[in-house]
Structure formats: structure tokens, C-alpha cells
């Protein structure tokens, strides 16, 4: 009745165009790299200072000097390049990355994104998320449509501290795909078995036709 994590990642992977440079956030976005269609060559950026991020290493081949932005051990590829953090974010801020696929806590109908802080509860920090949403050409959010209590995470207005204002282009949830358009969100696709009514009732944000 709805997409699972891998299906959401596969939907997100269809966004990628041949030759693009893409930054993937932690969580479901990381899975996207497993679903890039054949014939589409995508170079993954890791904002801690690498282009051409490869898969996890084989056991015993981990390198403490080679990690991704999630601090996980990774590998390099033939086209990889390393650089420092100032250069990495110059690239991000300067619009050189074609797309970022990120997780979220909340998205608003105006494309506001909240994914870094729950006041009084979690104090982790925004990491590179604010830079990514401000700088990257296309921002795609992948998240569950509702929270554990069944409340919509696709809102009229975000309740949590923002990561960025009017920065999201597309939202992919377990229930479907939404584009941020003038006046609200537009349904692009519904998950198999999800009706428009179900989708609307799970969505607080304004949906425009």
C-alpha cells in the first residue's frame, strides 16, 4: 500500500541524469546509489572533501583516512578527487552540484525544510545540510509521509527550526511524489495502491492540481 525504503530510493534514483554530480544525505538517500539506472553515470560528492565516492570497503580494507560525511568508511573510484572543506563547500555553495537528495523531519508547502534540530531534545547540529539546500541546483527530499504518531510531515508550515526556506524542489515519500509549485504541492505520482484521497488526508499541506 506504500513504498518501502528501497522503493523510495529507486524513485529518487530516477531523478539522476547522466553526467550529474550528486550529494546524498544520510539514511534512505544513501540507498539511492544502489538504484542509479544503467547508462546513467553519476558522480557522488561527499561534502567532507571528495568527489567520486565509492562503496564501502571489503572487511580488512577500511582506511581511517577515507570516510564519508556520515563518518562511514568508504572507498575511492578511478575518477575520485580529494579536496579540503572550504573547497568542498565552495563547490556546493557555488551551485556546482546538480542535485542533493536529503532526508527530512518536515517539509512545508512552500518548500521549507526542517531536518536538523528538535528544540530541547536533540542538539546535533546542521552539518552541511544548510549549505546543501542553499547551494545545490535541485533539492529532493526523501522521507516518510507521516511520523510515528501518524501525523503529516508535509505541512503548511514547518514547526521545527528550518534548514532552509523555499529550498525543496521535490518530495518523495512512502505515499508518493510531490513537486513544490506556486501555491502549494503538486502530486506527480502516487505509490501503488494509494488513492488521491488517502494521500490528501495524510497531507496537511495544500495540494494544487
Amino acid at each position: 500500500m506504500s513504498w518501502d525504503r528501497n522503493q523510495m530510493a529507486a524513485i529518487a534514483a530516477r531523478e539522476a541524469q547522466d553526467g550529474w554530480y550528486v550529494n546524498l544525505g544520510i539514511g534512505i538517500p544513501t540507498l539511492v546509489s544502489n538504484h542509479i539506472p544503467p547508462g546513467v553515470s553519476v558522480t557522488l560528492q561527499s561534502e567532507n572533501g571528495m568527489l567520486g565516492m565509492g562503496p564501502f570497503p571489503f572487511a580488512g580494507e577500511e582506511d581511517a583516512d577515507l570516510i564519508n560525511a556520515g563518518k562511514q568508511t568508504i572507498t575511492e573510484l578511478p575518477n575520485s578527487a580529494y579536496f579540503d572543506s572550504a573547497t568542498s563547500f565552495a563547490m556546493i555553495r557555488g551551485g556546482k552540484i546538480n542535485m542533493a537528495i536529503l532526508g527530512a523531519m518536515e517539509v512545508s508547502e512552500e518548500g521549507d525544510l526542517a531536518n536538523w534540530m528538535i528544540p530541547g531534545k536533540l542538539v546535533k547540529g546542521m552539518g552541511g545540510a544548510m549549505d546543501l539546500v542553499a547551494g545545490v541546483g535541485r533539492v529532493v527530499v526523501v522521507m516518510d509521509h507521516t511520523n510515528k504518531a501518524g501525523e503529516s510531515k508535509v505541512l503548511k508550515r514547518c514547526t521545527l527550526p528550518l534548514t532552509g526556506k523555499a529550498v525543496v524542489d521535490r518530495v518523495i515519500t512512502n505515499l508518493g511524489v510531490l513537486d513544490v509549485v506556486p501555491g502549494g504541492l503538486k502530486i506527480v505520482e502516487l505509490a501503488e495502491g494509494v488513492s488521491k484521497e488517502q494521500f490528501r488526508s495524510a497531507t496537511e499541506a495544500a495540494i494544487v492540481d
Binding site: G49, G70, Q72, D84, F89
Partner: protein, 234 residues
């Protein structure tokens, strides 16, 4: 005039004072100046203000200086790995200035580049923008961010030649380059010191002009999250 010192304590001699500002390289536990952090702990220097992307973990990296309550204020982008950090922050013992990661890196780079302030769109419309000067350029709104200038930079590189020319290894380069540039004095620890001329002039990641003191020593280089894939059998 040699830049090479016998160890981290010797290399920090005469540079430390309570309340000083330190810029530290590293991302997570990758490429952190672990020997210099240990020496800072032993020195007992207090009320440090530290600009570093992360705060280490409880028992390694800058976490050690949190444990010993030597840090008064952190400027970071992400501190999620450090429980002691959270405890001190939530109890009000520790000041925290959250910076978007790229803004933090650029603030350090600006400090090293003689740029006192720059405009960025990062953080506009968020808490990060509160109290900051806003200005529009070509129809988009930006905020003014100030440079970070530190009393001391602590940096980890892979190799140095004796004149201080540095090379880093893989993603351990990270904040070490911008951090190195923004300090009045920059002390660097490396895994190996090689003779002048051993690093090709076109292969140097950070020229020796940025490096004032240099040490070598054994590094733990801890891995924070060991992720692996299964070896496919043929």
C-alpha cells in the same frame, strides 16, 4: 631556523594562554590533530574557545578537552557523536555556536585570507541568520558572516617536508587546510617528516608559509563507523 620540534608539548611551548581561541582541523575523527589535543589536555590551559567542525567523541579528540572542562565555547557544525558535549551544553556549562559546515570552513578560510566578512545565502531564513546583516544581491538575500581568526591553529597532515610544505591523505584533508590558514601560529603534526625536496612542488597541498611548528609521532587514527561490504564470491 628549524620548524621541527621534538614533540607536541615542546611545539606548544609559549603559545598557550587561558581564554585563547583555537582552530582545529579534522572531520569526525578523521584527520584530527590527536597528539596536539593530548598535549593541550596535559597543559591544563583553560576556557578555550575552539572552532572545529566536530567535537570528537567522549574519549578521543576534542572530547578529551570537554571531559577535562578546558573548553568554554565550541563553534561547530555537528556534535552528534559526543554525549558529554550534549550534557555540558544542555546543562549550560558549555557555550555552543552552531555554524553551517560550509560557513564554518569559509569563515576559517576568510580569516586566513584577510577577508573580515563575506556574504552567503546559507542559513537565510533560519536561526543562523538571526542578528546578522542581510543584503540583497541580484535579487537574492544573503547574510554577512564574519571571519574566524584564531590565536592558534592545530592541524594534522600526512607528510611534511622540513620547510613545512604539507600533503594530506584522502578525506583527512578536510578542515585542516582552512584551519591552518586562520591562526596567528599554526602547529602541525604529521605521520612523517621528509627532507626538503621530497614533495614535488606541484603536489603540495598547503605551502610551508602556513606552518610555523612541526612535529611527528604515532597516530591512533581511530575509525568512527567501520562500514564494510561482503566480498562477493566468484
Amino acid at each position: 631556523m628549524s620548524k621541527v620540534y621534538s614533540d607536541a608539548t615542546a611545539a606548544l611551548d609559549g603559545l598557550l594562554f587561558d581564554g585563547m581561541m583555537i582552530a582545529a582541523g579534522g572531520f569526525g575523527l578523521c584527520g584530527i590533530p590527536e597528539l596536539l589535543i593530548d598535549a593541550l589536555r596535559e597543559s591544563g590551559v583553560k576556557n578555550l574557545r575552539v572552532a572545529s567542525n566536530n567535537a570528537g567523541v567522549d574519549d578521543f579528540g576534542l572530547g578529551l578537552l570537554l571531559q577535562s572542562r578546558q573548553i568554554k565555547k565550541m563553534s561547530s557544525s555537528y556534535v552528534g557523536e559526543n554525549a558529554e558535549f550534549m550534557r555540558q551544553y544542555l546543562s549550560g556549562e558549555l557555550e555552543l555556536e552552531f555554524n553551517p559546515q560550509g560557513t564554518l570552513a569559509e569563515r576559517m578560510r576568510a580569516g586566513g585570507a584577510g577577508i573580515p566578512a563575506f556574504f552567503t545565502a546559507t542559513g537565510v531564513g533560519t536561526v543562523v541568520a538571526e542578528g546578522k546583516e542581510h543584503q540583497d544581491f541580484d535579487g537574492r538575500t544573503y547574510i554577512l558572516e564574519r571571519a574566524i581568526n584564531a590565536d592558534l591553529s592545530i592541524v594534522k597532515a600526512w607528510k611534511a617536508d622540513e620547510s613545512g610544505n604539507l600533503i594530506f591523505r584522502k578525506t583527512a584533508r578536510n578542515f585542516n587546510v582552512p584551519a591552518a590558514t586562520c591562526g596567528k601560529v599554526c602547529v602541525v603534526e604529521v605521520e612523517e617528516i621528509v627532507p626538503v625536496g621530497a614533495i614535488p612542488a606541484d603536489g603540495i597541498h598547503l605551502p610551508g608559509i602556513y606552518v610555523h611548528r612541526l612535529i611527528t609521532g604515532t597516530h591512533q587514527k581511530r575509525i568512527e563507523q567501520r562500514t564494510v561490504r561482503a566480498k562477493e564470491t566468484a
